[in-house]
Symmetry: C2
Subunit: 234 residues, 2 copies
């Protein structure tokens, strides 16, 4: 089985990279800045971790970078399963808490507003399929599930909140729908694993909260990913 | 010389496709829905037109689709120049008019809001390079130039307008910065050609205005593209 993790930020992936002892394969995606790590696990599992990479010293985040990394990963690694692992905002009113880790049971965009009276409106929202083993995995590992909605900004504008509320979004991220869109084009299943760095319905400033909680959220994300890989290997 | 046009909508490209007599190369990008058209022009120019393609019957529009098409086109066609041709909104206060065609002299995102106190804010805005022959071409063909700003929505929210105004944006589209971002990763020059379908500072509803003016804007776009290709061939 070939598993390809797509991760935006080095900090989100580092605990996971350290734990699994994956080794970097330098220049694999050249000239793209994406970075590849690989480990052979047992006799039948190849575990890859793909980072978007850096430009001008900062991790590439957001939807276009996620599209590029996912497309490159699918083309070159031929994964059986893509896993988009990362951090997100969530709502305490839905029971969310900092560093709580969810599996995504649905995924859409919340910031692609195109009039909804024809196919374009539907296409803009996305609502891409997630891996059909998601629910069974969540039950097996006793993980909560939530609907991921994706946008290109860290803040929460009224138009984004309205779209999220209207569509029952629970986990606000910056990559999930882009990864799932590209997976849908190649017909590759995608699993979304999201750890909460900030609560959208408290008064804290998003960026400060994100930075404060990133390390803890990434550690919890790592713990869950270890359990997921163990389960998938089996 | 290899020229690869990246166009989101069939309607935007059709006059151009008809005029140049480019022939479709079926299944070239399979399994992606992107469509390829090709014509050999004279002894030294290959002209390609890449459409994002359709999913569920509607043209794929927006930044993720543009990323995918651009990445696939660069990988498979190795263009010397990518040209993103399409429609846009503009401001009558800047002298814009329906079906006026511009070359982009700069390009950025207007809907990727990430706090700007470090590299991430800069990265989110984009500000990718455009082809360094843009200005000379505009002067030769007597075409106006403008700064393209890209977002994933057809409407204009206050946060988008604020970003556009703060950054002196003039041409609001839904693909340009995504195409330019991918080109920047592969170090391929990009030329932006944008025809105005709607005026952002009048009272008309954007989508109605867009639909009403799409055919005329695409015809004018075609005329300019013919002149551009003639010039590049020479």
């Amino acid at each position: 089985m070939i598993i390809a993790y797509i991760v935006a930020m080095q900090a989100e992936a580092q605990p996971f990279i350290d734990n699994f002892g994956v080794q970097e394969v330098p220049g694999f995606f050249s000239p793209l800045p994406c970075r590849l790590y690989h480990a052979r696990m047992g006799s039948a599992t190849d575990l890859y971790v793909v980072l978007n990479g850096k430009v001008h010293g900062s991790d590439l985040i957001g939807c276009e970078s996620a599209s590029v990394a996912t497309q490159a990963a699918i083309q070159k690694l031929h994964p059986d399963l893509v896993i988009n692992s990362g951090t997100c905002g969530a709502f305490s009113s839905n029971g969310a808490d900092i560093a709580k880790v969810y599996l995504g049971n649905a995924v859409m965009f919340h910031d692609r507003r195109v009039p909804g009276d024809d196919e374009w409106g539907t296409q803009a929202l996305g609502n891409y399929p997630v891996w059909d083993g998601t629910k069974a995995l969540a039950e097996k590992l006793n993980l909560p599930m939530g609907k991921v909605t994706t946008g290109s900004s860290l803040d929460m504008q009224p138009c984004d909140l309205q779209m999220i509320k209207e569509n029952n979004g629970e986990l606000k991220d910056m990559e999930g729908a882009a990864v799932a869109f590209v997976c849908s084009l190649y017909n590759v299943p995608v699993l979304l694993v999201k750890s909460v760095t900030d609560l959208c319905d408290n008064s804290a400033e998003t960026y400060d909260e994100f930075k404060r909680n990133l390390a803890m959220a990434s550690e919890e994300l790592c713990k869950v990913n270890i359990r997921i890989v163990e389960e998938l290997k089996g």
